[in-house]
Symmetry: C2
Subunit: 333 residues, 2 copies
């Protein structure tokens, strides 16, 4: 496959120009581009430039309002409710991230719930940004249903992500970013496209039986991480992201992958704690725990691999398939 | 094995009288008894009356200060720091639970961190109590090290629990209560006592290899739930419970199971969100999600089994082995 390498600024402009051309307000396009380029820079290519055709398609079909201006309401001194107004998730998340650190400094802890939202991208990025401002952050999001409750067959939960980051004295933040399915659904989709089977343990068919048939898996459900524990945590994520904010539960949200249809109206939750709110020296203590992990043979500190990829790609630029580049260039023309 | 059945009030008095006799202040003994009886009533017998000999032993040896008066400091409008003063965890948790609902109503969200603490018992109980007051609650605790970072061999994390509860319109709360190890370490200890092997997948030996030898497992580490994802979440729990509060990280905390030694100085974190803080009707929406799960063949709503056991045992009374009853009766005499 032919590829080209784009400097980061050029990749960002490519996304911004494309989204504007397809009917997105400039400030929204800039916010989306920042998130997609952020995903590319951490090696999370499935949430990067490859999303542009679908995002642009959603704007063109009206599933996403490219001109939405998210609305924020401070419901209590420590809580924000953000309505993404069926626009992209990122401008709504940006609004929350602009207010949460100060609210956490004042109250010790603060939270934003986001409803009327869309695809949230790489969950580790907003928490890492908050940790760089001295905050401990937890981010959760829901997504259209792909996982059944443990023992059940019908999908109720998304493969919902939970991310966590904390500032470390003298080092980049620790960044945890997991999904509650055992593997990402994108891996099953990729197997379908390649016409290959999937390993046992990834997915169940529509009857709830283990399957290695990728197409059968797409009609069935993803296996949760940690078996029943994964779907137990998914209840928490769905309630905080959707139940609390008025967004769709996973089983109410229309598929992300259709170009046309109703808005997804998914939700996100962001919890932020000021690292200085309790005992002194918390960030030094966090660094001690991190160094125990980093110093252990065979173990890795979550987030470090992505941070290294970012350092490398900021220098080398972002590699894009020529075919994807051409597809993006043609969007909205 | 001979057993007897105690009415709940009698079981409570047994614990209170024993702990007072061993050197615990009456209000602390009452708090501990409530938690241990609460564990019995939800069928979590490993956190119930069986803990009395060890708890009493800790008081008798001075590892736990039975007369400790926990201290609470409101560090910000939304955050409490509680020092359990090397006493039992439960009086410190009670202090936090008394203040958090009102703080959450005022601020939308509130959090307590507890340091200088001890064994936290059944993590689902404090969150269920908060949910009965209209709050969404998350509880986490750390414990002496038993789990290595994924890929590593040395234990760094406890088999740390995460619990979550939310109020449901017209029904008892949903209560999620998981530990971050694949199975509880108590199951390995029980296998050692019976001289039996353990199933593969539960634990690793001291060299990091899978083992079915229960004694080798006790010298090694517990397998995390969800593989690397379990230990990633354990970083979050350790940082919130210990890093933020000044308590010991798991790898710094002396074993819970020794009668003598330094105080454990472990930590707990409790996050509370007012269910009315954001969109209206959240508890009705929570009930909708719960009914989707309860209505699905093969699936179960987390918490329901324990709530049924509680209803049954409140009527039938609590069954105790005669040998355990005699052991408790003899403590401190």
């Amino acid at each position: 496959m032919q590829t080209r390498t784009l400097p980061v600024a050029e990749a960002r402009s490519l996304v911004i120009d494309t989204l504007i051309r397809c009917g997105t307000a400039p400030q929204n396009a800039a916010s989306v581009a920042e998130a997609l380029i952020g995903a590319e820079l951490t090696g999370q290519y499935g949430h990067g430039l490859r999303r542009v055709p679908l995002y642009a398609g959603h704007v063109l079909s009206g599933r996403v309002d490219g001109h939405a201006a998210p609305r924020v309401r401070k419901t209590r001194p420590g809580t924000l409710l953000v309505d993404a107004m069926n626009g992209f998730a990122y401008p709504a998340m940006d609004l929350a991230l602009a207010e949460l650190p100060q609210m956490a400094r004042e109250n010790g802890i603060a939270m934003a719930g986001i409803g009327g939202s869309h695809h949230c991208g790489v969950a580790g990025l907003p928490v890492e940004a908050l940790a760089r401002q001295g905050c401990i952050a937890i981010f959760m999001a829901n997504a259209p249903a792909a996982m059944a409750p443990w023992g059940g067959r019908r999908p109720i939960f998304g493969t919902d992500p939970i991310a966590f980051a904390a500032p470390l004295d003298g080092a980049e933040p620790v960044v945890v970013d997991i999904s509650l399915s055992k593997v990402a659904k994108g891996k099953v989709m990729a197997a379908v496209q390649r016409g290959e089977p999937i390993p046992e343990g990834w997915a169940l068919d529509a009857d709830g039986n283990p399957t290695t048939d990728a197409a059968a898996a797409m009609k069935g459900t993803m296996v949760p991480m940690g078996e029943a524990k994964g779907t137990a945590l998914a209840i928490m994520v769905e309630m905080l992201c959707a139940g609390l904010t008025g967004a769709n539960f996973a089983y109410e949200a229309p598929s992300f992958f259709a170009l046309e249809g109703d808005p997804m109206n998914t939700g996100q939750a962001i919890l932020v704690i000021d690292a200085t709110a309790m005992a002194p020296g918390a960030t030094a203590r966090f660094a001690e725990l991190a160094s125990q992990i980093e110093g252990m043979e065979g173990a890795r500190l979550p987030g470090r691999r992505r941070q290294q990829i970012r350092r490398d790609l900021l220098t080398s630029g972002i590699e894009v398939d020529d075919s994807l580049y051409a597809e993006i260039e043609a969007l909205g023309r």
